[in-house]
């Protein structure tokens, strides 16, 4: 059948077997393995972006303030450690998720009809959103710990009694990252990739 130029929207539907019927078909035909692994990548990558952002924000101020007040050097590394913690949350999440991704026992080209498709899709979507939960919250947490840490170093150089008070601000900021990993773990808890067809 030759394809003529479509004249209305209804004519524009592609009828070849390689065309998609719409967005739903595009999204559901993306493999859950792809979703899960992207979730791992986002979780780890975005967490590290947040941690790195926070570290250079606070580190540059720490180095500068320590020129005139060298005593602040060791205490203010706590701010850097708080930022690093957000990266660790990303790594924890990534390891948990990576361990859940399992390949089927038998290597077949098409999946069996009895395959646990609901569980399959649940696992893919669940891991993707767990990764995003952790990654995006850790960016926010890392940046805010960094800015607060920068002010903490500068204030500590002027008046040592301010250090502990500003540290409390940083503790609240790093709690944001903890929220992310808690929700991420809850989301990914029930996700298991099926490895064999249902009996």
């Amino acid at each position: 059948k030759s394809k003529t130029a479509p004249r209305t929207m209804a004519d524009a539907t592609c009828t070849s077997e390689f065309c998609n019927a719409g967005w739903s078909e595009v999204l559901t035909h993306m493999s859950p393995y792809g979703y899960a692994n992207f979730g791992i990548a986002f979780g780890l990558g975005l967490s590290v972006v947040g941690a790195a952002w926070g570290i250079w924000l606070t580190g540059s101020s720490l180095v500068g303030a320590a020129v005139k007040a060298p005593r602040i050097r060791s205490k203010n590394l706590i701010s850097v450690i708080f930022c690093e913690a957000t990266a660790i949350y990303g790594v924890i999440m990534a390891i948990i998720l990576a361990n859940k991704v399992k390949k089927p026992d038998e290597a077949t080209y098409f999946l069996d009809e009895d395959w646990d498709f609901p569980g399959f899709y649940y696992a893919g979507y669940g891991m993707f959103s767990a990764g995003l939960s952790v990654g995006l919250t850790n960016i926010a947490s890392g940046v805010s710990v960094g800015i607060a840490g920068s002010s903490c170093a500068i204030a500590d150089a002027q008046d040592p009694s301010l250090f502990v008070k500003i540290l409390i601000v940083e503790i609240f900021a790093s709690a944001l990252g903890i929220f992310g990993i808690i929700v991420g773990i809850i989301q990914s808890n029930a996700c298991t990739f099926p490895i064999a067809p249902l009996e």
Binding site: W53, V63, A65, I147, S150, A157, Q158
Partner: protein, 389 residues
């Protein structure tokens, strides 16, 4: 106008530290080098300059005064200025654009001062080496350029030649060029006395500098534009008021000169611009000036100090007090460039304070000794009493 716009802006709260985090933390560390209330108290109690020097060794200036066995007020000023300049140069070498250009702007003011010093000295026939020794260290340019200034000959083309041969390569060259352009447009034959001429040149150069600086800061945007905009507006207004006040009793105050010459000296930034400055053009004596300033609440109180008789405080002191209050506020917020400008100006104020105290001790005038404006003082009138330190 003359300086090209910055390539990038200063950055906001989350990106400022990429380029400027280190330098900003440096200057904030230097805040602890300002003298405290207790230091000022000890120093005002001194009876001789040796006691004074002893007290100085306990402050951040200990290394500066260690080399000077016999302290004099001028020696003290030189040593303290040297220390400030060393710290500034350290900041300048660590600075990245656009902070580098910003710090350069701060030095242009001192370059203008130095150029005017060399010019005035040449006109009164003083030795060039003596003049160079007196130049402000922050505003030095190339030695060869400074030594070429005495080639200036007063005359119709004197200033043009000076610009073409000497000043065109210096950073203040564009301001001089603008001054020449404006005066060629407005006044062909200048039949004014030489000293008025020099004052006009200096005020014009400062005016162009303030306008250029304000334009640069507003292009930087963000916190820097807000804070520096305010500081420079206040600076421009101080200049406008001082120009008007100092012109009373000089040929600049004649009605013919006011519109043609004095008006051109008022900067085009500031709270007084444009309505206030157009009113200031017509002002002929102090009463009229007072009436104009009544309309602007932030200046009416300062004017009140001057109008109420100058025995307690002069108008300069009132301006300094207001300046110190505003510059201290520039230290409040983080991640902006205003803190660098505030550091230089507050250090200058501190040096003025130290020289004042040492002069009073030297001349034995202990009752005048407390007439200085301390920086970051807990007893400042704008701070609530009972603040913890």
């Amino acid at each position: 106008m003359t300086t090209p716009a910055p390539q990038s802006d200063a950055g906001n709260l989350s990106t400022f530290n990429i380029l400027h985090g280190f330098t900003e933390a440096l200057v904030r560390g230097m805040r602890s080098s300002f003298m405290k209330d207790s230091d000022y108290h000890h120093m005002t109690q001194c009876d001789t300059l040796d006691d004074f020097r002893l007290n100085m060794t306990e402050t951040d200036y200990s290394e500066s005064v260690a080399d000077i066995p016999n302290l004099t007020p001028s020696g003290l000023q030189e040593a303290a200025l040297e220390k400030m300049v060393t710290e500034f140069k350290y900041l300048r070498t660590q600075a990245v654009e656009p902070l580098g250009q910003f710090l350069d702007f701060i030095t242009y003011e001192y370059m203008i001062e130095n150029v005017m010093l060399l010019l005035k000295g040449t006109l009164s026939g003083r030795d060039i080496n003596e003049l160079i020794a007196q130049c402000h260290p922050l505003g030095m340019f190339k030695e060869s350029t400074m030594r070429s200034v005495p080639t200036f000959e007063p005359g119709p083309r004197g200033y043009d030649d000076l610009y073409q041969t000497v000043l065109v390569d210096t950073p203040v060259g564009p301001y001089f060029a603008q001054f020449l352009q404006d005066s060629a447009v407005h006044g062909g034959s200048r039949n004014v006395l030489e000293e008025v001429e020099i004052e006009i040149i200096k005020s014009s150069l400062i005016k162009y500098w303030i306008e250029d600086f304000a334009a640069y800061c507003s292009k930087l945007g963000g916190e820097t534009a807000t804070i520096m905009g305010d500081l420079l507006k206040v600076r421009a207004d101080t200049n406008a008021i001082n120009i008007t006040l100092n012109s009373f009793g000089t040929p600049l105050n004649e009605p013919g000169m006011r519109f043609s010459d004095r008006k051109r000296l008022y900067p085009a930034v500031g709270h007084l611009y444009p309505a206030g400055t157009s009113m200031l053009v017509d002002v002929g004596d102090e009463d009229e000036l007072g009436r104009v300033l009544e309309l602007f609440p932030q200046y009416s109180s300062i004017w009140g100090v001057h109008a109420g008789g100058g025995s307690e405080k002069s108008i300069d002191d009132a301006f300094y007090e207001r300046d110190v209050q505003q510059l201290e506020l520039a230290f409040e917020g983080q991640m902006h460039f205003g803190v660098f400008y505030a550091f230089v100006k507050l250090k200058e104020q501190e040096i003025r304070n130290l020289v004042w105290i040492s002069e009073c001790i030297l001349q034995g005038q202990k009752d005048e000794i407390n007439k200085f404006v301390p920086v970051f003082s807990q007893h400042a009138p704008w701070r609530k009493s009972g603040g913890r330190r």
